[in-house]
């Protein structure tokens, strides 16, 4: 399954796209599903008439969510500060392209055995670290092994759980062996933890020095405060138009917004949605509103009363006025959820599943059938999940009242929310980052016995389909399998998904980006510094 093998079908799809026989979404859908280098296809889609990028300038970038106690250790990356920084000074094997297809980073090429249980990655022979040492297969093996094994404390451990062995075959080839088929492995390599760091002699990695092989190298910096980077001339990729990048950690929404308005920074990674409309009026500022696969979920324990009855679960879903929530909480910057964990911008999204809409009467009727009229449930939440999290729960409580459901909003402390409330309280509010493929997401949070099965959902048919889809290399069949899984989640699942939140970031009007920006993270998949330029 080398990407060249897909050149044929892609050309045909692209041709169809050009003549308008195929929608852009379908095009994306197919090209993303193949997992190949899609830069050529992107070129076809976005057209040749594009402004030529210009080099130069210092890109001052305000980043939300940074902590003074962060470290360079990729195993413990958790804040945006580190995720964004890692995408500037480190490299990954693969990356999400601006059109949300999968593209090469350090790996120029990858192929799988027919059962998808063994993958081979070819490493770019031009790539080198900022220190001047070339990037070899040994570095890749060490970097991936950093997230495996008993001693590893990496948050990416579950992601690589099915990997049994990683070996270097010469200087530029890495072989990954799995305990079963995993068609999505190249997609997983885009995960922000899996950054490639220089290997030490003993097979561990040197994450402390801050050396990497990304487009910019770190000149100086302080965790939770600021980072100064300058262009690395030996970078293996294309782009990196800015001479230097200045990242400022601005946790306070007002500070970010003012810094942008006064021109102290050129771009901010997140704006307060309340002020979106006001910012848009400013002629010097452009607000980008990019739909993503990041979801807000409200898991209900399917094995705890009253949620054991599927009718109650459906009533809870029907008692939510998603439109009002999107209008008032997300200020329109969100995509309506339909209680299956797959967003329209993601591969395999099925477009024919009926939408849950606010219907308090039907919810009431369902509760009556279930003999659970006038139920009262506690909904745990906290402010830090996203801005407006508590408000959203309060709003939902008001809406559910009309369906005869009493929702008591419990504001838990932000501190320790994910260790003490999530997975422990039967009904709570959770925020999920986008996962590259449905398989990753479903395996993490919906499969039987998964550590993060937040709704305690156990559906035999779903689990069977999930296994089947994992090693299925035929795209149409896979799409059909995922459609059925989504339908099961929609009808039977214990998770309410009010919406998928958009990435809303803003830039000064002299900052230019290509027509398309990636939806994997805010600011073009956190790669704004290497993909954008000054006018």
């Amino acid at each position: 399954m080398t990407n060249t093998r897909y050149a044929g079908p892609i050309d045909r799809i692209a041709a169809a796209a050009r003549t308008g026989r195929i929608s852009r979404r379908d095009f994306m859908h197919y090209s993303m599903a193949t997992g190949l280098t899609a830069s050529a296809a992107t070129g076809l889609w976005t057209g040749a008439a594009r402004a030529q990028p210009k080099s130069g300038g210092t890109f001052r970038w305000g980043i939300h969510d940074g902590n003074t106690s962060d470290t360079h250790d990729p195993a413990t990356y958790v804040t945006r500060q580190m995720i964004f920084l890692a995408h500037q000074y480190r490299s990954y094997l693969t990356m999400i392209n601006p059109d949300n297809s999968l593209g090469p980073d350090l790996a120029t090429d990858w192929e799988a055995t027919p059962d998808a249980a063994q993958w081979t990655f070819e490493i770019d022979s031009d790539a080198s670290f900022h220190s001047g040492r070339p990037v070899t297969a040994r570095d890749v093996v060490a970097s991936l092994n950093h997230h495996r094994g008993d001693k590893s404390a990496s948050a990416a451990k579950p992601l690589l759980a099915s990997v049994t062995d990683i070996t270097a075959d010469g200087d530029h080839t890495v072989v990954v062996t799995l305990d079963g088929g995993l068609a999505d492995l190249p997609w997983l390599m885009t995960d922000y933890h899996l950054a490639i760091c220089p290997a030490n002699e003993d097979g561990s990695i040197d994450w402390q020095s801050g050396d990497g092989s990304g487009p910019y190298k770190i000149d100086s910096g302080e965790f939770g405060v600021r980072w100064s980077l300058s262009r690395f001339d030996g970078w293996h990729g294309e782009g990196a138009y800015f001479d230097a990048v200045e990242m400022l950690i601005l946790n306070d929404p007002n500070a970010r917004q003012t810094a942008l308005v006064t021109g102290d920074v050129d771009c901010v990674s997140l704006i307060d949605l309340k002020t979106k409309a006001l910012l848009e009026r400013n002629p010097n500022i452009i607000v980008d509103n990019i739909p993503s696969g990041a979801a807000i979920t409200m898991p209900m324990f399917c094995d705890a009363d009253p949620f054991t009855d599927v009718k109650v679960r459906q009533a809870m879903k029907l008692a939510m006025d998603r439109d009002e929530i999107i209008e008032k909480i997300a200020f329109g910057a969100a995509t309506k959820g339909n209680d299956f964990h797959l967003a329209p911008v993601q591969p395999y999204w099925p477009d024919d599943i009926p939408q849950y809409d606010y219907d308090p009467d039907r919810a009431k009727a369902l509760l009556k059938e279930a003999g659970a009229e006038g139920i009262s449930v506690n909904l745990s939440t906290t402010d830090s999940i996203f801005s407006g999290a508590v408000d959203m729960c309060v709003l939902y409580a008001e809406q559910a009242k009309k369906a005869g459901i009493k929702v008591n909003v419990v504001r838990e402390p932000s501190d320790g929310y994910y260790s003490d409330v999530w997975l422990k309280k039967p009904f709570c509010l959770v925020s999920w980052g986008a996962r590259p493929t449905p398989d990753v997401m479903f395996t993490l949070a919906y499969a039987r016995g998964a550590a993060w099965n937040e709704s305690h959902w156990d559906n035999a048919r779903f689990n069977e389909l999930l296994l089947q889809a994992k090693s299925e290399l035929d795209q149409d069949k896979r799409a059909e399998l995922y459609r059925e899984m989504c339908l099961l989640m929609h009808d039977d699942g214990g998770t309410i998904i009010p919406f998928f939140n958009n990435f809303v970031f803003a830039r000064r009007s002299n900052v230019v980006h290509p027509d398309q920006v990636a939806a994997s993270w805010s600011c073009d998949g956190a790669r704004a510094a290497s993909r954008w330029w000054f006018e």
Binding site: P253, N254, Q257, T258, V261, D272, K274, T275, L278, E327, K328, I329, F331, T382, D383, S384, G388, V390, D391, C393, V394, L395, A397, E398, V409, V410, R411, E412, P413, S414, D415, G416
Partner: protein, 353 residues
């Protein structure tokens, strides 16, 4: 030059003439200063600045008028001794009393006064003010006016409880320490030192993370944080009284500690304590709103002024007034409380001039 500006200065000058004619020097000086300030403001700020000045002057005049009327009203209601006391009170103090009375009424009768419930969503987000919603809607479409009214009950109630509790602990500790002295004095003093030396925001951050953020916990934690300050003040004031001869005399009479505290020391220590109460009350208020800035405040959807300021604070950069309303409510109350406190202080200091 617009008609407004002409009229504005004409009125000022006419009023000055009247004041001069009737020989009211303070009034004349006030008007003179106002005229001068207006001329300067008009020179630099133009008509909008003048309009602002007019508005401010009108608000002041209204406040003074209300206070005046309220003073007469109080005098009639209470009569006798209180009447003379009230007649001598400065207008600011009466204004403070008036504001406190209004807040108290709002707090007690909140469900009757407020047109909507505090959590009730009645319109779209940030809907402008109309006949039904006096102050417009907040970010969820809840009636701002109703939330302010309920906020009076919640915010003031909690801050008041916490301050009272802090004063109870602090003053009691201080009095006992002063009367008993020795080991007890040292012990209580050291405990107070320990509590005070941990920054209040960090202390509450730790405590609220451990015990959760219910109202009871908030009140107790805040009271614990502020009681050492009250303790120190009480200890200092009572320390000065304890060495007085009349205390010595009472002790020789064989009076117990409790009697000394209640009958001899407390009455003489009230004035500084009351003065401190005013400031502490506003610090408690601010601490609670600072806590909600860090996400540890009062549970939603309970309306609370601190959280209300915080929720919409980013709008202020665009000159939107929404977050100013609850902030103004906080400011008005603290100013009012301190006006009254100043008056009490002035009365008790025996300084009448």
């Amino acid at each position: 030059m617009s008609h407004f500006v002409l009229g504005y200065f004409a009125v000022l000058i006419a009023a000055s003439c009247l004041a001069a004619y009737f020989g009211r020097r303070p009034v004349f000086m006030l008007l003179f200063v106002l005229t001068l300030a207006s001329a300067l403001a008009g020179l630099f700020g133009g008509v909008p600045a003048l309009r602002f000045l007019t508005g401010a002057a009108a608000v002041l005049a209204l406040a003074a008028g209300i206070s005046y009327a309220f003073r007469e009203f109080l005098a009639i209601v209470f009569g006798g001794e209180a009447e003379r006391e009230l007649k001598n009170a400065p207008l600011t103090a009466i204004f403070g009393l008036f504001v406190i009375a209004v807040y108290a009424i709002a707090a007690v009768f909140a469900p009757i006064i407020a047109p909507f419930g505090q959590a009730e969503v009645v319109s779209s987000a940030f809907a402008p003010a109309d006949a039904h919603m006096l102050l417009g809607a907040d970010q969820l479409g809840r009636d701002m006016f109703s939330r302010i009214i309920f906020g009076a009950r919640n915010s003031v109630g909690i801050a008041l409880m916490a301050t009272l509790l802090a004063f109870f602990f602090g003053a009691l500790g201080g009095l006992i320490a002063a009367v008993r002295g020795g080991v007890i004095d040292t012990l209580i003093g050291r405990i107070a030192d320990v509590i005070m030396s941990v920054p209040s925001l960090i202390f509450s951050l730790l405590m609220l993370s451990i015990f959760g953020t219910s109202i009871v916990v908030i009140v107790i934690v805040v009271a614990v944080i502020y009681s050492p300050r009250v303790f120190r003040l009480t200890r200092a004031v009572a320390g000065n009284i304890v060495v007085m001869d009349y205390i010595e005399a009472a002790r020789l009479r064989g009076e117990g500690d409790w009697y000394l505290i209640r009958r001899e020391i407390l009455p003489n220590a009230t004035a500084p304590l009351v003065a401190e109460f005013g400031l502490e009350f506003c610090f408690v208020f601010l601490l609670i709103s600072g806590l909600s800035f860090l996400g540890l405040g009062i549970q939603p959807p309970t309306a609370d002024w601190g959280s209300m300021v915080r929720e919409n604070a980013t709008l202020i950069s665009f000159g939107e007034l929404t977050p100013l309303i609850p902030a103004a409510a906080i400011a008005l109350l603290t100013v009012a409380v301190n006006f009254v406190v100043d008056w009490m202080l002035w009365r008790s200091s025996g300084l009448k001039e």
